[in-house]
């Protein structure tokens, strides 16, 4: 249960959320301010690209998410 950004989570999420499954549908929900849960960090990357996040920001947020997973931390 890791948050890459406030609205894009991987695995699970303890806030109200949705799991549409496709990148396009995920991105539309995130643009509308809704929280989505995606399957893995690769899909999170695709969703963040689709919502217009800068690539450097995306790589940084993914790195931090990966580090939290490796340390056994969750959000």
């Amino acid at each position: 249960m890791i948050a890459v950004t406030a609205l894009v989570w991987v695995g699970d999420c303890h806030f109200a959320h949705e799991r549409p499954g496709s990148v396009a549908a995920d991105a539309e929900l995130v643009k509308a301010g809704r929280t989505v849960v995606v399957a893995d960090l690769n899909q999170a990357r695709a969703v963040l690209l689709a919502v217009g996040a800068p690539e450097q920001t995306i790589e940084y947020r993914l790195l931090r998410a990966r580090q939290r997973v490796e340390r056994g931390l969750c959000d």
Partner: protein
């Protein structure tokens, strides 16, 4: 329709709703009520915090400038050094929570207009894009200190993100770190 700020000259602006609603927020902020900014929208929020009247029509403000800096709207009675550093949770181990920005206190004095403008116009919650790109782990998320012995909720990181959330009428998703103030610090 929400208010908009229109540029009418070099460093001079006018707000579409007139100055009365801005003035109402300014008076509340002067009385220490940051919650008056809740959901007012970006134009009234920016005008109330950073607007400085430059011309009047009758008794009403007609145009204003936008100062690059302004005082933070939140009460500021403590700073980070008032927290007992040996007794609080590590912010890295704390999960995320949705925090009400209306009840927060600040640990810094001021706000920058350009930074607040960034969070009002860029979808930070979606993209994670910070105004300050120094990429420090302690700034990845808003961090709020919660005193276990009082209702105090003090912003450690994310003063601009919290103020933007307040202005837009939404909660702040960040880390609520519980601990206590140092012995002898007045609550």
């Amino acid at each position: 329709m929400s208010a908009v700020i229109e540029r009418v000259g070099p460093e001079e602006y006018r707000i579409s709703c007139g100055w009365s609603p801005v003035n109402a927020v300014c008076r509340a902020l002067h009385d220490g009520r940051a919650s008056a900014l809740w959901g007012v929208g970006e134009a009234i929020g920016r005008a109330a915090l950073f607007g400085r009247p430059t011309s009047f029509r009758g008794r009403d403000v007609d145009t204003f400038s936008l100062s690059p800096r302004a005082a933070i709207p939140y009460p500021r009675e403590h700073n980070v050094s008032d927290v007992d550093a040996h007794d609080d949770e590590s912010y890295l181990t704390v999960g995320l929570a949705d925090i009400d920005p209306r009840i927060l206190h600040a640990s810094q004095w001021g706000l920058r207009h350009d930074a607040l403008f960034h969070y009002l116009h860029r979808p930070y919650e979606a993209t994670g894009e910070l105004f300050d790109n120094s990429r420090d782990v302690c700034n990845d998320w808003p961090v709020v200190f919660g005193d276990v012995r009082s209702p105090l909720r003090m912003i450690w990181q994310g003063h601009h993100r919290s103020t933007a959330a307040l202005i837009m009428g939404r909660s702040v998703r960040g880390r609520l770190v519980r601990g206590q103030l140092r012995a002898g610090v007045r609550r």
